[in-house]
Structures are given as C-alpha cells and as structure tokens.
C-alpha cells in the first residue's frame, strides 16, 4: 500500500508538469517526489522517503536525487516491484499444502495459471483455497508455511512474462 502510494506519486509527477509533490504525516512517513530541476524535464525522477516531520524548513538542493528509506526495503521486495504479486485476500494462517503430509500446491519455478489454487489461508477453522490471479512463473514465495498473514500481504511473486 505504501509502495503503491510512492509509485502513484511518481506516476503523477512524471505525467504532469508539476515538478514536486510531497505527502507526509507527523508520525508516519514523508514521501517527496520531485523532478530534478538540474536535469531536463522528464529525464529523471527521484523518490525521497523520510521519517516525517510536518514541515517547516524544506531545503532541496540542486544536486542529484537522494533516496532515504525509513523502513529498509528488502532487496527481494525491491527486485519484485515490477513483477506481479499475489496478495492475501483475507487475514489468517498461510499453508502451502492442503495437509501436513501433502506436497505444496506450488514451488518456485512452477508455472501457474489464473484460477489455480496456490495456497490455503485458514480463518476461523475454515480452509480457504487461494487462487492465482495471473498466469506466469512462480519467482518467490514470501511467507513461511503456517505463518499468519494480514489482509493485502504479498504472498507469492509471479513473473508473467
């Protein structure tokens, strides 16, 4: 969700003649997206993410773009930002297989197609089969078997190409 917002902001800036957009909360994060005025328009964009302070003195230097991340983004997540992620549609416990003795629904490297069951999320004793919403190759499985997952949490990375 947070990364979505950054992407959304970058898109807004790239597609407009605005050169800077900044969103922040006092306790949350500050997102500033700005086109670097030293470069020609649209040639580059920088996303600056900082522990937020609701403003006061903002000094933007004309130097190169700076990226500071409050929450260190794991390499994995960074790499997958352009791939498709299947997220948890409900809160619950993640299972890779229909039973402890069964083989996992999917493994890294498998081909999956939309509608294929890829895991189970148990909620209130009910085993909910979760289906893939894309065709492609499984690149990564982000949650360990039997771990809890939140709504919208990325579960599986699929390369649709």
């Amino acid at each position: 969700m947070f990364k979505d917002k950054i992407k959304e902001l970058i898109a807004i800036v790239e597609e407009s003649n605005v050169h800077e957009v900044e969103v922040s909360t006092w306790w949350g994060r500050k997102i500033r997206v700005q086109k670097n005025s030293s470069f020609s328009p649209n040639s580059s964009s920088a996303a600056e993410v900082q522990a937020g302070s609701p403003l006061t003195v903002t000094t933007s230097s004309g130097q190169g773009p700076e990226v500071v991340a409050e929450e260190p983004v794991s390499e994995a997540e960074r790499d997958y930002s352009k791939l498709h992620q299947i997220t948890a549609p409900i809160v619950g416990t993640f299972y890779r297989a229909p039973s402890p003795d069964s083989a996992p629904y999917i493994n890294v490297g498998d081909k999956v197609s939309a509608g294929q069951v890829i895991c189970i999320i148990e909620a209130m004793k009910i085993m909910n089969e979760i289906e893939s919403d894309a065709n492609g190759t499984v690149v990564d499985i982000l949650v360990e078997n039997t771990n809890p997952v939140e709504y919208n949490q990325p579960l599986i990375v699929v390369d649709p190409s």
Binding site: M1, F2, S24, T25, W26, W27, G28, G52, P54, I90, V91, G92, T93, A123, M124, I126, P148, E150, Y151, N152, Q153
Partner: protein
C-alpha cells in the same frame, strides 16, 4: 485480568481503549482497514493487523476477519467500542463460542434490548416507567381511538417494527386519528413489511436524559448520574453535559434508581446507558438501553472522577465494581462538543479530506479525545467525528466559558468542522440558560461567521 485485548474499532474510541488497556498493563491489538494504515490506533497499539479494504462491511464489520485477527494474535478479549459491531448480538455470541471475552453484555442481553417491544415489556416488569401506551399491537381504528382516549391527546401512532421516524404519526385530536392510523399502517407495511401499530402518549417538550450504569459480575449494578443529551440534530447528539441543568438531587436519585432496576432486571454486565425522555413536569419514561460504552461517556468520567473504560474492563475480568466507584460524588460540571468533519454551512454534509494543521487546546479542565493530527486524512468511509472536546468547570457557567475559550484555541485547517457551530450554540442565551428541549436545534439558526474560520 486479561493479557491482550483486540480492539474491533478505529478512531478516538480505539485510542481511548488502548490507553485504558496500557494503563492496566494489558497489551493491545489494533485491527485496521487499508484506509487506516496511518491511523493513530495502529501506531499506539502493541500490535496491529490489517483486516481488509476500506469498506466497513469488509473490514471493521467483517466478523471472520476480526475473529481471525484475534486468534492469530492470541487475544483473550475483544473490545467493540461503539458503532460497528458493538451492539451486534451475533458477534457477541461468536466471541462467547470461541472462548474470547466480548467486552460488552451477554449476547442475549444485546438481543433483548435491541427489540423495542421486548425491552419495553422487560422495563415494565422491572418497575421502570415507560411511556404510557397500548399493551401490544392495535388492530383497528376503533381500538386505537379507545386507547388514545385513555392516554389523552396528543398521542403517537407508531409502527411496532419502526425506526428512523417512518411509520410514525403525531395525532393532536381524536378526529385526526383515523386518517393518521391508516397512513402509518400503510407506511409501516411498505417500509418494514409489517403493518403492526401501537399507540403511545406523546411526550411534549421532552429532554433526552440518560443514565450511565455499570453492571458487575455479581449481578449488582451501579448508576453514575445522568447526561443531558437534548442538543441533537436529526437524532445525532452534538453536545452532551453532566449533570443536566434541570435534574436536582432528588430527581437524580429517582433516575439512578430506575436505571439500576433496569440493569439488574436483565443481569446487565459492563457499561451501559439507560435513555429516558424527561417531560416538562419532571416525569421520565424509558426510551431504550444502549448496550455499549457511549461516545459521550467522558462527561460522566469528568464529573465523577472515574475511568469508565478501566472499570468496564475490570468487571468483564470478573472484578466487582469497586466501592469507591459506587460512592463517587458529583463534582462540578462537564460539557462535551463533538467536533465533526462536517460543513455546518451546507447542511452538515461530511467533509472528508486532509487536515493541514491541527492544534488542540489545553490547560485546566480541558480534555481532548481524538485520533486526528496534522497530516491526517479524514476518510470518507467512516463516521465524520474527528475529536471530542470535553471540558470541566466548577459550575455550568464556568464550564461553558472554558469550553468557549477552548473552542477559540482549537485550530483545524484543511477541512470544515463543527467548531464554529459549537461556538454559536454556546453563546446562545437559551442554551446558556439551560432551558431547552430536544427541539432546540430545529429552531437554532447557524450564522456564517464574518471572518474566515
């Protein structure tokens, strides 16, 4: 005592519950929708679980998601706050079935009090005064005329399944009754699929007075004085006070006794409110019972010096209501103003959006319960209340003066709020005199201020 409480709510009440839990040494779990990622209850809880998308029906009202979050985090109790699932008997029942304590009354109590006519009958059994009216349903105009004769005009013809003002008619004289009866019956039939009607005496110039109760695990209940909630706009309370300017010690004792009888009749557990209509001759009539902690609970806390949330959590953990709570003395006067993200110039339409600055008043006797902050985006998906300003003073007049000063200092920029509206109500001579009824806001004219807010 509990180890971990999940709060099935958001906004200021979620924060209120988190504070009470942490002061008691209890861990907390916040649940939140994706719209609330930056909400304060998420920040201040011990842990937080995202349970669904912005729509309430798929997050804060979605029982399976909440139960899953409780199970995953090993919460041993769930506090529902107010609104959302607070008075949902099914949810309370599910909690009971799962061995998770629901911090509210038993599901059967919620169900009973949610049924208007059953609640009314229960109160009559308990000896609590109810609005004079017919016993059960009236089937024809002749019976209605006869019953109304006995009650005295004006009367109200009401749909048994009614709500929201539909299937309801006020009748001033006997000759108007037949037409009103037929109209109400048709309306009830088409609105609720049930044309059952009953007739009640119409209470003229009523005030809305409610009594805070706390039921202990031993079946004993205590009452903590009344709240005056007559300042309402379309049944939405905007300003609440404790004590009421028209309730004296003697009447307070009668109201409290009635509320305790009501609560003990149903073995009420935890925090609840018994709502009464008070007529201009100081008679009062049971209206309904709210089986939850209410938005306006802080005015009672301010004058009695009691933390209702901590007391409530205690009774659900099996601790009797402490003796000093039962003996608490009324001190001074408290007023609550609900600060809503609404535009009072445009029929109080909700005005979600970004709060660009947020400065809360402080000092002696000033309490602010809020989950908003500078940079917070008021979500369109939920209730528009963004803060409660609760002010205590030694007298009603000094509490009003202090509230005015606090409103003056309260700065919210970026969205319109009800702050200027409250300022005008508090300056109104009728409000200040204490002489008003639930009709006050019908005639009150909000004036746009000269200078920009």
């Amino acid at each position: 005592m509990f180890n971990k409480i999940l709060i099935a709510n958001r906004g200021e009440i979620a924060l209120r519950i988190i504070r009470a839990c942490h002061e008691l040494g209890i861990s907390t779990v916040a649940v939140y929708s994706t719209a609330d990622e930056l909400a304060l209850h998420v920040r201040f809880a011990t842990e937080a679980v995202c349970i669904g998308p912005p729509e309430s029906s798929r997050s804060y009202l979605h029982i399976p998601a909440i139960m899953s979050a409780a199970e995953l985090t090993n919460a041993d109790a769930i506090h529902p706050g107010y609104g959302f699932l607070a008075e949902n008997a099914e949810f309370a029942g599910i909690c009971e079935d799962h061995g998770i304590t629901f911090l509210g009354p038993r599901s059967e109590t919620i169900r009973l009090m949610g049924d208007k006519s059953a609640a009314r009958e229960t109160m009559m059994k308990a000896g609590v005064p109810v609005t004079p009216g017919t016993q059960g349903v009236i089937h024809n105009v002749q019976d209605a005329v006869r019953e109304a004769e006995g009650l005295g005009y004006p009367v109200m013809v009401k749909a048994s399944a009614g709500g929201g003002g539909r299937g309801m008619r006020r009748v001033e004289t006997p000759d108007l009754l037949p037409e009103a009866f037929v109209q109400a019956q048709n309306e009830a039939q088409s609105a609720f699929g049930n044309g059952d009607l009953y007739v009640e005496k119409f209470i003229s110039e009523p005030r809305h007075i409610e009594v805070q109760v706390m039921g202990g695990p031993d079946g004993k209940a205590v009452a903590l004085g009344e709240r005056e909630c007559s300042i309402q706009r379309r049944n939405q309370k905007l300003i609440e006070e404790s004590p009421s300017p028209v309730v004296d010690d003697k009447l307070r004792r009668k109201l409290c006794d009635a509320a305790v009888q009501a609560a003990e009749q149903v073995g009420y557990l935890g925090a609840g409110t018994v709502e009464f209509l008070l007529d201009n001759e100081q008679n009062f009539y049971f209206m309904e019972m709210n089986t939850r902690i209410q938005v306006e609970h802080p005015v009672t806390e301010m004058v009695y010096g009691i933390d209702l949330l901590k007391t409530q959590i205690g009774v659900h953990a099996g601790i009797s209501v402490p003796a000093w709570v039962a003996k608490a003395q009324l001190r001074g006067h408290a007023i609550e103003c609900r600060i809503n993200a609404e535009d009072p110039l445009h029929d109080f339409r909700p005005a979600p959006g970004l709060i660009t600055s947020f400065h809360v008043p402080g000092g002696m006797g000033v309490r602010v319960d809020t989950a908003a902050y500078a940079g917070y985006h008021v979500q369109p998906h939920y209730d528009s209340m963004i803060a409660k300003l609760i002010v205590h003073g030694t007298t009603r007049e000094s509490a009003i003066n202090r509230t005015q000063q606090a409103l003056e200092e309260f700065v919210i920029e970026g969205i319109p709020t009800t702050i200027p509206f409250h300022q005008q109500v508090l300056a109104d001579p009728d409000f200040r005199s204490g002489r008003f009824t639930t009709a006050f806001l019908e005639s009150f004219q909000y004036q746009p201020s000269e200078e920009p807010a």
